[in-house]
């Protein structure tokens, strides 16, 4: 696609969506399910006695679960206005870039998460590359950054995700 299309994409960079609220509080059953799936035996996550004696004084969530707490529900469907990131993806879909693949992940952990914590988060597109030739087809690398906040208003962590939106077989 031409320079004009890339300029249109760049206009959507930095647009903040509304603040979103996690469906569930941080809780022990979801932590345990995660540890079961990841085969993670760290006693801070599931051993009450060990965790109580630790510097945290309680069970904590695996820090890598950050994004999991804020995943949207499968059902019922959301009624919120579309987020700028969704508009971004829709624009690429319309232009024929249907393929999507996550290429880069980065997480920073500022504070531990405890059962009972309730997260809110905002996210925005923070970068888009010019169109690039890749092994899968021509596409754009789109980076989104999330900021996660607990119920006290403290930032608990950030995550950035880069996806390749590509034209399949181009």
């Amino acid at each position: 696609m031409g320079v004009e299309f890339y300029e249109e994409l760049k206009e959507l960079v930095g647009q903040e969506g509304s603040q979103l609220v996690a469906v569930d509080e941080v809780c022990k059953p979801m932590i345990r399910h995660w540890c079961e799936a990841m085969q993670d035996g760290n006693p801070l996550y599931t051993d009450e006695e060990y965790a109580r004696e630790s510097k945290y004084g309680s069970i904590i969530a695996p820090p890598t679960m950050l994004l999991t707490w804020t995943m949207p529900p499968l059902w019922p469907p959301g009624e919120k206005p579309p987020h700028p990131f969704e508009l971004f993806l829709a624009k690429l879909d319309e232009a024929g870039y249907y393929g999507i693949l996550i290429t880069n992940v980065a997480q920073k952990y500022h504070r531990p998460l405890f059962p009972g914590d309730h997260l809110t988060f905002t996210y925005k597109v923070t970068d888009v590359s010019p169109e690039k030739k890749t092994g899968l087809g021509n596409g754009y690398f789109v980076t989104t950054t999330f900021i996660f906040t607990n119920q006290k208003g403290e930032t608990v962590g950030t995550q950035s995700l880069t996806v390749l939106k590509y034209r399949i077989g181009s």
Partner: protein, 144 residues
């Protein structure tokens, strides 16, 4: 059960982390996707993903995050505190693959009162590198 700790004083730059292998199955892929609340069909629906031209369902990014966290704190022990991780996904990891996890300490330093190490890691599958990246961990010190 007692848990061992890797102390900051005992770590050297260039030191290798243990090599760990893990057999990936449909169950590990799907349980990881669902535990991370990722219901995207490419992580549980073989027909769907094969219609896209891919061989099979594959590990989702959150499960790779979980495996990175597990790999690093299995090495440090529970007193190792993850500060950040960052990786690039190069090739998908499919059921039937054996994942081989390797790593190395690349930097040892202090920041304020924190005793930190940076590590790099590489998770390989038969068709190439599934992911590679870095992480920062705060380690306990002897006498603290």
């Amino acid at each position: 059960m007692t848990w061992k700790s890797v102390y900051w004083e005992d770590v050297e730059e260039g030191q290798e982390l243990p090599t760990v292998t893990m057999d990936i199955t449909c169950t590990t892929v799907i349980s990881g996707a669902i535990a991370s609340r990722d219901f995207t069909p490419v992580h549980h629906d073989r027909d769907f993903v094969q219609n896209l031209g891919l061989k099979d369902i594959f590990l989702n990014n959150a499960t790779i995050c979980g495996y990175v966290g597990k790999y690093l704190t299995d090495w440090t022990g529970p007193e190792g505190e993850l500060k950040e991780i960052s990786f690039r996904i190069a090739t998908p990891c499919f059921p039937g693959d054996t994942m081989t996890k390797t790593g190395k300490v690349i930097k040892k330093y202090t920041e304020g009162d924190q005793h930190l190490v940076d590590v790099e890691y590489d998770f390989a599958v038969p068709q190439g590198r599934n992911c590679g990246g870095t992480g920062t961990i705060a380690l306990p010190t002897r006498g603290h």
